[in-house]
Amino acid sequence: MPSGLDTVHALRRDVALQIARYTERLGISQLAAAKQLDVPQPTLSKIVNGRTSDLSLELLLRIAVRAGLRITLQTGLVPQEAGAFVSAGRRSSARTFPSKIAAGTHASLKQSLRELTPAQRLEAFLEHNQLASELREAGRAARAPPSAHASLRR
């Protein structure tokens, strides 16, 4: 039986990523952002740089709450399925599109989903989630710096 520790690590990384993106959006110095979030600047530096190994998930969630982020945590059968999602805080039914064409396409997508049975819908979401998880891993590989190989050659 999996211990779930890797899932917690993945969630920590994801919540940290959301906080890092939030601080980036603020457009202020890290020190100012740390003051705003009521955390020591070195702690925020760890979060921004993804060094979350000695930060608890609880602390990260408390910082996310202070930032006003609406975060949904998801676990899965494997750590790769775990994630932290930021919600815009509004219902999808109230979603507005600046583009009529995008709105029409969205409506047609919803209609096509309604034509599926609940079991088919669930299966489709699971299948898609599997492929998205695959992409997530591919993205991780793409974003990995090539420095490891470079330093070995030195």
Binding site: I101, S108, L109, E123, N129, L131
Partner: protein, 145 residues
């Protein structure tokens, strides 16, 4: 086609990409599916891509997709719509790839901010057509919030 059931819009995208590459149309995957690259996996079933092309070309592309056996729907926008055209490519399983024909006043430089991600490389096989060559690395774009 690589798809064999619902929920495989990402595989449909690979088919679509083959045609886009053949037609030399630049593209970038955007939206919720592209967010997976940033480790955010959301509950959606379609895939969106932004094309760098012209309105007339989108209609030609539609014909090309039809010839290849895809279901298509071309939507053209009103003059004030920021998206000037949308081509929806789908299959019998309900998989969908929505191709935004372009955004009004879009800076072509936006494509320089894409991240190339290799998704299912050439050595991978798919049950439907195991010997078929998969496309070269895909280009993904993710928009900063």
């Amino acid at each position: 086609m690589r798809t064999s059931k619902g929920g495989q819009s990402a595989l449909l995208l690979l088919d679509v990409v083959e045609i886009l590459r053949r037609e030399k149309v630049d593209y970038a995957v955007i939206g919720a599916f592209a967010l997976a690259v940033l480790r955010v996996v959301r509950a959606i079933t379609d895939v969106d891509a932004l094309l760098f092309t012209k309105p007339g070309r989108l209609a030609k592309l539609e014909k090309g997709f039809k010839r290849e056996g895809f279901d298509t729907e071309l939507r053209t926008a009103e003059a004030d719509d920021p998206v000037w055209g949308m081509l929806v490519v789908s299959d019998d399983f309900g998989n969908r790839v929505e191709l935004l024909g372009g955004l009004r006043n879009m800076d072509p430089e936006i494509f320089s901010r894409t991240l190339e991600v290799k998704f299912r490389d050439e050595t991978s096989s798919t049950p439907a057509r195991p010997t078929r060559r998969l496309p070269a690395p895909l280009t993904w774009i993710y928009c900063a919030p």
